[in-house]
Amino acid sequence: MSVIVAFLLFAFVVGVGFLAGMVPGLQPVFGKFLPWLAFFVFVGGVVWRIWKWASSPVPFRIPSTCGQNKSLDWIKPARLDNPTTTLGVIGRMLLEVLFFRSLFRNTKAEVHDGPHVAYGSSKWLWVGAMAFHWSLLIIFMRHFRFFMEPVPFFATGIASLDGFMQIGIPELYVTNILIVGALSYLLIRRLLNPQVRYISLPADYFPLMLILGIVLTGIMMRHFSWFRVDLIKVKQVAMGFIAFDTVAVPKGIGAIFWVHITLICTLLFYFPFSKLMHAGGVFMSPTRNLANNNRFKRHVNPWNPEVEVHEYEHWEHMYHDKMVACGLPLDKPTDEEA
């Protein structure tokens, strides 16, 4: 059900893209206006979301500790999994953001007869997530060759590394293969793993389809002669976008290119209002980005509430006789006792 809703939505976006490709009159809109708008919505939306998060305080320091804490001198602390210093926190965050440290811990629980509960290693999700995110980053950087003249060194460098297998003309990029594999895995996993399918919303399928669509249209333009597009013109569109100029969008780029652009714009529009914001949220996650140092460094809660405490004085008053009977010392003995 969720997957169907997501697919219909995705199909609609693709349809709009084709329409833009077929109707030349629409191309200035889809080549300039829409990307600009998408870009601003994306940047503005992301900033707004992060600002919203940041505007709520962090009342308590609640890191999840995943290793030995710093205590006695002769016990080795886990500086990254249970950091007590800012440096340690930065290390932990880097491991988390660059290498998905927590996901790497993943296991799969099974209950067998006996009973016997087994925890198998389960790294495929980590492999899929790493392959997807890293490929996406590299592909993104590669695209700078369209947006900049002269082409920046990193874009060329990455592209030639990426194409190191030297298969086919134009050569096949490793990341293209990886990202298609990874996205397909993530999508299929969502559909086949019963528990994951059960929790999945349209909002979980839709971005996978969007990105897969973007990737596939990109690959089609590069590798299938039928869809091949004029890269000079593509670059004109891209440079025009970057330069914010109003020069006319060149005509005669294949329709597939417009599908590609429409999908990207949709992704940019969608990003700030969706779970894709995990990209920003992970940096602000209080169980990860705080040091476990509460016992030696004071953390202040800006709204620390006043509460009613049962004070000793009243407590002693309440139990006065019983305390006398069992010989507990009193702060305020009654006159006779004093």
Partner: protein, 554 residues
Amino acid sequence: MSGAGFPKGFPTPEDLASVDLQTTPLKGWMDPKVNFEGRRGTWSYPAGAKNLKALKMHNPREWSPADEDWKLPKDWKKTILNGMADRLERFRSFKIMMDICVRCGACADKCHFFIGSGDSKNMPVLRAELLRSIYRREFTTVGKILGGLAGGRELTVDVLKEWYYYFYQCTECRRCSVFCPYGIDTAEVTMIARELLNLVGLNINWVLEPAANCQRTGNHLGIEPHAFVDNIDFFLDEIEENVGYKPEVPINKKNADILFITPSGDVFADPAIYTLMGYFLLFDYLKKNHGFNWTMSAYASEGGNFGLFSSNEMIKRLNAKMYREAERLDVKWILGGECGHMWRVVNQYMDTMNGPAPKNLVLPKSPFTPTIFENAASTKMVHIAEFTADLIKHKKLPLDPSRNDRYKVTFHDSCNPARAMGLLEEPRYILNNVCNNFYEMPSSTIRESTFCCGGGAGLGNDENFEMRMRGGLPRGNAVRYVQQKHGVNVLSCICAIDKATLPPVCDYWAPGVEVHGVHELLANALVIKEGEVRVNNLRGEPLKDESEASEGEE
């Protein structure tokens, strides 16, 4: 050694463990209906009106979850939504955790309640979605427009009932947070959800009765000062009987160096009482040999803090007594006993809520070793395992580990010391010095990956027994594993709740394994006088088990 005390007709372990983690209900999860009547044994009784009144909490009344009418206040919906809005403003954690879950499912099979029940809504992700779906619908634009398509749900009475069922079916153990790529901590979501439920009077008695007791008497069990003194006297006699010494225990003594605070379960319930006796022997040894100057308090007579399972304000209220009493008694620093959730509070909340520590408290320094506990520089509160491990390291304690030779020991990391503190090596160091046979359970079930006892966060009550045994499956099964492999017969731990909840878990899933506190084992091994001959351990059992060969296995 039989599994005595299980309710009549309770399923066998084989039956209870025939769970299927792969099958999901036909109905989508957005349907909130819970059949309370049909699921007796898996939920906790509501808090009695008198406890709510004592704590000045909302909507005190007598009711049962099995009733149709829960006697909610008229404007319950507004109250909950306002409560959410307010907490979104006050807790960044809440906002982030509502927003960034990608439903990857990495946390799904990390929860002991899911593993033991197969109930999809016990997957941490779905537990959180029960609240998130309301958030999406009421607090996000997309959710307001698209509703169900955007994963939003309307807040109905049935949703509230479902919350009651599942948020009081999470032990706030944080195991899920270790595996989530964004550190989403469903325990945090549960804590917020319970705060919301409290606003309309939906709470469980096993949390609020101890809290009310603690507010009134100073401890969860409601032990009044004279009974506190009596209990301790009784244990001192017991120690004398079993070990041949009668330690002295100062209570409410002013100007001691150290105030010792431990959970009241230690003063009350078997087998935690043996841990208490262990402390007493240790402290008495230190006093006789090194002039240790310490005291307990009948006012701050609770280390634990059931406020943690209710609301942040309640944590603060109950915790405040520690510093108040440390100030009144004019001690130098505080030493805390074996307890799990207590140490989450001390490590992560105490200083923020009730600090800075009173002026009379100083940077804790061991009176007997050169060690300065820099790690407690702000709270001025040291964990007993740190204290003792340091003593052993500096050879201050003569130990004879062979006195624990009848035991083959494994160690259960309690959730909070493991995942809200990182106290992993200290207890192990002590154990390795006080007993000769120590074996670890499989690595997926210890340290930061440790499994809950199944009865934390107020769920360790009798009416919830089936769910406790289900939640105890992963832990119990790991114990069973080392029992079969190494003949383990003692599960040691540093938590008072564990000492109450793990015995039935062991009786059920790994019969023949007993639960002991680390300081009980330490006191068994502690040579109090040179040349001392001890026949019995703290439990009054002979040190050498004559029937060793026949027991142990089953």
